[in-house]
Symmetry: C2
Subunit: 333 residues, 2 copies
């Protein structure tokens, strides 16, 4: 018989979770006390939180419990990457139905732990509560050795770049929702399942003063570009012909691929602005960044974000990308 | 017509929340960027998280949105108090149904903000997600100037004390669940609605080295005493005749009042161990603590927690207090 949460005491369960968490340098008191205790840090501290709710952000058949935990960590750590920071400590709050198999909870915790460990931080504490649907809320404490890169430092003339590729996660979530079969659907699903926070790239961009403004792409390139532009008090232009897409996006019609890359969201890549005088230094930093970076547009005086295709402006600003509370109003390009 | 979350964009809503959060010393970048940025701290860091789920931890008619936000903050900050720490920064992740009135969300955020501000910290960031039921997950970053007080430092011979009074919150939640009317029910409900993290008392107990071990009383005196004893590798004895109860508990039969004080939970008072040689110093610190403290028992060699009534042991260890996943197995004393 499957061992489920309802057959275990919360305390016994938390004890089991503690066993999954190794001792870590810098962690003076780990999970199991009222609060975790970490060594002092001499650099600025970063704090961010993100939640993943079953039926809203994921469905359980879409990925294994371990992949779900790992993904939840990466999504939260992506916000630290977008400030040019590094991860110090991670908290995991799980709300779970009592029928959840205990092994699923363990795998989920192990997924978060593995992500935190790979990022150089540690899972230091958590909370477990009963709920009808599964949800994971992750808080990450980070630090940034140099000054952090906010969304607000961009200036007209700065060139816009993105890390990695765009649109794969959106295609993947569509394939998962439609239960599409085949190799292409599987490849797309992997894009959605396995984002990795661009911590290395973000840190290099901050430390070498390459980026004046930066944001991670959670809700879609256009909506996130609008956020960066609004915070920086400038306008943006995105050249849709330049958008880097994964191989799997070439299996769908080009206009659809472009729409996914522009508005799909959940890629957790970085969008950042580079002053013209620093573009050569960015190119020279390619190896240090650990991922490809692609020139996708620029910042200009004004407001809003325009999209150009073959040199023609096809689209001005408006609501785009994913909005939790208005899913049907999110337009696609 | 009531303005509800579904009529607002998530981004517009987050902008509105940002307006509720004032600029705060030590906060370099507040809500609205990828992560909050706080000034470096020279002392050890504390991290803790707690969740409050509608239908599990509260029902919406039980308290106003502002009180709900405030309560969620205090419950999380209580873990910082139990380490002898102080609050530096707070993160709020809300999962909310799209039909939630926008003003309720604002009030909820204001409740968290007011708690954080009163504690000397600040609400520095958050996340908003759609969900079928309302839930609040709070993460608190704290710091402790002296070494933190864990659950593990207690020794045989140490005397056990609690802050404040016990059992009022449990009576209150019962009155709320039963929709009891009248002055007594209202007084009990207030005990449940309005806990205040014992940050001042916790800090004094840590700084003056009065407490060797400490825990906050979330799940009930007995279960939390067992946790402290298990972590310290000792046994405990609780004298049920000494338990401090609020006036409203005198409206129920004494055996019931005792059961509520022993096992009710949600009082968010502190249980702490004091070496015999420091008891006089504890008494002398009464004004600094900012609340009453009551001698309720002691630590002994051995394992488990025994309860005495009129000098007779009436109960040895076992599962007690609230367990999320086994609500029907939680025995009461």
């Amino acid at each position: 018989m499957t061992d489920r949460l309802r057959e275990r005491g919360e305390q016994a369960l938390l004890a089991a979770i503690r066993q999954l968490i190794p001792e870590t340098a810098g962690v003076r008191v780990g999970p199991g006390d009222d609060a975790a205790v970490l060594a002092p840090l001499r650099a600025p501290l970063l704090l961010t939180t993100d939640a993943m709710v079953e039926g809203v952000h994921f469905r359980r058949p879409w990925l294994s419990p371990h992949a779900l935990g790992r993904r939840a960590f990466e999504v939260s750590a992506s916000d630290v990457a977008a400030m040019g920071g590094s991860v110090v400590g991670t908290l995991l709050a799980v709300a779970a139905p009592s029928r959840l198999p205990t092994r699923d909870l363990r795998a989920l915790v192990a997924g978060v732990r593995d992500g935190a460990r790979a990022a150089g931080g540690a899972l230091v504490g958590g909370n477990l509560a009963a709920a009808d649907v599964l949800s994971l809320t992750i808080a990450v404490l980070g630090t940034c050795p140099s000054r952090p890169v906010t969304r607000a430092g961009g200036r007209a003339g700065d060139q816009l770049f993105v890390t990695g590729t765009l649109g794969g996660a959106a295609l993947g979530v569509r394939a998962l929702a439609r239960r599409s079969a085949g190799r292409d659907a599987a490849a797309a699903a992997r894009c959605w399942r396995g984002p990795r926070a661009r911590l290395r790239a973000g840190a290099v961009l901050a430390r070498r003063r390459l980026a004046t403004a930066m944001i991670d792409l959670s809700d879609g390139l256009l909506i996130d570009a609008e956020r960066l532009c609004a915070a920086s008090g400038v306008a943006g232009r995105i050249d849709a012909d330049r958008l880097p897409v994964p191989a799997v996006l070439r299996t769908v019609p080009p206009t659809q691929a472009r729409a996914l890359a522009l508005s799909g969201g959940e890629d957790y890549e970085l969008l950042f602005a580079v002053p013209p005088a620093r573009v050569a230094a960015l190119r020279a930093a390619r190896d240090a960044l650990g991922c490809r970076v692609t020139h996708v547009g620029e910042l200009r005086a004004g407001r809003g974000v325009a999209v150009t295709v073959a040199g023609q402006t096809v689209r001005a600003r408006g609501p785009r990308g994913y909005d939790h509370f208005r899913p049907n109003r999110g337009a696609s390009a």
